[in-house]
């Protein structure tokens, strides 16, 4: 009765000639632009290509001196929204320009940003992370299976992360569309895996900053990261691991605290020390940082960035933990983050590395890819120039300019 009255009143006030102004249907939308770059509004310069009918976006920052020579820049991930403005792509162009180098810079956006997330997949992912947070000592069998079937159906035309196949196809098409020649590759962290995806691209040089430890067993990666994080915590706060006051707290609180410790490792100065110091006493600060690490947003939703992470990271290495222990050590949350790999049944990616001149930057205080871990990687077997960074934060591109001067300054063979 009430809604009928409302409808009557609305129509009297003039709705018959336009859209019903207070249409009770919630299904209102924004105009489809037909341009992939208009979806969600990218902050960075944007262009796109289509592969098998699917759009892929990229940002090409051309050198002020016209050239075909182009550096493929992979800032790592998986789970980064490269064109959003958060990565600040033009800052690298400035570095390259300041060094007097003439290269175009190409950044590819990961597929998950434009991939629609079916509601049953979003629900399954949200439920998986909710249960991981509230339940320690487990193997997330049922929830992971649900994510595997709802979010990774076999007939999907578009993956969340890149595959070697999609990465190469996009690069080839962009090169044709923009008349580019790929000269160099800068890969940060997971960018080292993507360098191994390349096929039929002959590079003059490659630079890897804080590379993912390609070829190292997943469990070894988890353990080395946990040691590095707890070492960082001890140096700053004087204690290591779970504070005594939290040992008997519920699983969520311990999970948040430990996840936040992992997350702090990404933080750059000056926020780093402040954030770390607050963790012991500020449950809300810990929860917010934990949400960042797990991709939790809104009211318990989880970003599809985590699906891209699982898809590519699970394939990049073998031996990821398939269960996790009680949340009383950093190891347990790192185990939990990767435990679903066991059920996703991703084929291991075939990573092939060329023998182009290479420069690798590592940092012994990095808590995501510590230098000691990178030293065990297959990347350390080939010839490379090794450069040390004293910067702790994993996100940093510190010393990239040193590598660029060493490798990119030489004129590539035409």
């Amino acid at each position: 009765m009430r809604s009928a009255l409302l409808l009557l009143l609305l129509c009297i006030s003039g709705c018959s000639v336009t859209n019903s102004p207070a249409n009770p249907s919630p299904a209102r939308s924004v105009a489809p632009s037909g341009n992939p770059c208009a979806e969600g509004g990218t902050r960075e310069a944007c262009a796109s290509v289509h592969i098998d009918g699917e759009p892929y976006r990229y940002s090409l920052l051309r050198s002020s001196r016209p050239t075909k020579n182009t550096i493929i820049v992979d800032v790592g991930g998986p789970g980064v929204a490269v064109l959003s403005g958060q990565v600040r792509l033009p800052q690298l162009a400035r570095t390259v320009n300041d060094l007097g180098l003439a290269y175009n810079l190409l950044f590819l956006e990961e597929p998950w940003v434009l991939k629609a997330s079916p509601s049953n997949c979003s629900r399954a992912l949200s439920e998986l992370v909710r249960r991981i947070r509230t339940r320690d000592e487990s193997s997330p069998t049922n929830d992971s299976t649900d994510v595997a079937t709802k979010c990774f159906p076999e007939d999907s035309r578009r993956s969340w992360g890149f595959t070697s196949d999609s990465y190469n196809k996009v690069l080839q098409q962009v090169a044709a569309q923009e008349s580019l020649r790929y000269s160099g590759f800068i890969g940060h962290s997971f960018g080292a895996v993507r360098l191994g995806y390349l096929r039929h691209i002959s590079l003059d040089w490659s630079i890897l900053t804080r590379p993912f430890p390609v070829g190292v067993d997943g469990r070894q990666i988890v353990n080395a990261r946990a040691r590095a994080i707890e070492g960082m915590q001890r140096r700053v706060t004087g204690h290591q691991g779970m504070p005594r006051a939290l040992i008997l707290a519920e699983a969520e609180r311990r999970f948040d605290y430990l996840s936040a410790l992992v997350e702090v490792g990404y933080t750059q100065t000056p926020a780093f020390t402040r954030r770390l110091a607050r963790l012991d006493s500020d449950a809300q600060a810990a929860q917010r940082l934990a949400q960042q690490y797990w991709g939790i947003y809104g009211a318990g939703a989880v970003s599809p960035a985590y699906l891209a992470y699982l898809e590519e990271v699970c394939s990049a290495g073998k031996g990821w933990p398939y269960s996790y222990g009680r949340y009383n050590s950093v190891t347990s949350v790192l185990e939990a983050k990767h435990a679903s790999c066991f059920l996703l049944k991703r084929k291991p990616a075939e990573l092939i590395y060329g023998n182009e001149p290479r420069c690798i930057v590592t940092s012994s205080s990095d808590t995501v890819t510590p230098a000691s871990l990178v030293a065990k990687s297959v990347l350390s077997r080939g010839r490379a120039i090794w450069v040390s960074s004293r910067e702790r934060a994993h996100a940093s591109f510190d010393q990239l300019d040193v590598c660029l001067k060493r490798l990119a300054g030489e004129k590539p063979a035409q």
């Binding site: 105009a31 960075e44 809104g298 970003s303 940093s396």
Partner: protein, 349 residues
């Protein structure tokens, strides 16, 4: 009679809205432009957190919908916002055409929404514009850097740290038919500010996107799209001077982006992606330390605008950081007569 029913309608929907500077009657809005505002008191009373909106979805599904849309869109841009940190408000259009829905994050609050309209009796021909003013809360600026989750990195701004980054998004009903599925006009506006630590050097950067609703039987065009920023009321003396701004002027087309370096004499600075438009003019004002950019061409698709301003604060103290208010104004003309009249020169916002 119609005005009375309009009043009943507003009360029945329980929305705190009134036209404050023009008549809300559709019948009277024939050709003369009319303008009305929704003030901060009305907006505050309609505001709830996204968490509340999502919990009470059945009471107002459209508000829950925009809350979820905002959260999802920001997440796809790498900003993971908690539902309790996002606010939403839905207010009735003062001229009776549906709802204006707003979502935003951070400490800001919409101070005012302006609506201007001019249309014929059947709404087959007309113009409508909406403006929103956001005012920054005078909290101490703190680092707003994003973390990571995988094996990734981000490029540092030389010598500067991001000390604030917030967005606001609006959806409102077009006055024309948009096809079988109802579409909204949609505008997003963001700012970020950077400081060279312990100095008076700040960079204030705005960007915004407007997507007009399609009109299969009309010819809707965006004819005015303006971004303005100025020191907020009561905090004007925190800004010493407007040192430099970008872009200097319009070039190329509205779809291309070029990166512009905005820096201080000793190289602290930010590289800013700037969309290029032929029909824009910049609106720097050294006296009021305000900056803006105004598009006055015609565009049928999505339109993006950006500007950056390098400013000197009075003090290097973070607690006395520059506090700005932002304004966004977008006008769509859906008339077949192809007249181009601006509903309001909003320079006195």
């Amino acid at each position: 009679m119609r005005a009375l029913l309009g009043g009943i309608l507003t009360l029945t929907l329980g929305l705190a809205v009134s036209a404050v500077s023009a008549s809300p009657s559709v019948a009277e809005a024939a050709s003369e432009p009319q303008r009305a505002s929704i003030d901060s008191t009305q907006l505050k009373s309609a505001t709830q957190t996204a968490a509340q909106a999502l919990r009470s979805r059945s009471a107002n599904p459209q508000v829950a919908d925009v809350a979820q849309k905002y959260l999802d869109k920001q997440a796809r841009s790498g900003r993971l916002l908690d539902a309790s940190d996002v606010k939403v408000a839905s207010v009735a259009d003062p001229f009776g055409n549906g709802q204006i829905r707003v979502a935003w994050d951070g400490s800001r609050q919409p101070e005012r929404i302006d609506v201007a309209v001019s249309k014929d009796a059947n709404a087959n021909d007309g113009m409508k514009a909406i403006g929103v003013m956001m005012a920054e809360a005078p909290d101490a600026a703190t680092s707003s850097q994003q973390g990571g989750a995988g094996f990734d990195g981000a490029f540092n701004v030389k010598d500067m740290f991001q000390m604030g980054h917030e967005c606001v998004e609006l959806w409102w009903d077009p006055e024309y038919w948009t096809g079988e599925e109802p579409q909204d006009h949609n505008a997003t506006s963001c700012y970020e500010k950077y400081q060279d630590p312990t100095t008076r050097k700040w960079i204030y950067n705005r960007w915004a996107v407007f997507q007009q609703a399609e009109g299969p039987t009309n010819n809707p065009r965006t004819v005015d799209f303006t971004l303005r920023s100025r020191p907020w009321k009561g905090y004007e003396d925190r800004v010493e001077s407007l040192y430099k701004w970008t872009p200097a002027g319009g070039q190329k087309t509205c779809e291309e982006t070029m990166n512009v370096s905005l820096s201080f004499p000793d190289f602290a600075g930010v590289e800013i992606p700037i969309h290029q438009c032929t029909s824009t003019s910049v609106l720097p004002d050294a006296t009021t330390k305000a900056m803006g950019i105004d598009f006055n061409g015609e565009e049928t698709g999505q339109l993006a605008l950006d500007f950056g301003a390098a400013i000197y604060a009075k003090s290097a103290d973070e607690d006395l950081n520059p506090i700005y208010a932002d304004y966004l104004w977008a006008q769509v003309d859906w008339g077949i007569s192809n007249k181009k009249t601006l509903l309001w020169n909003e320079d006195g916002w």
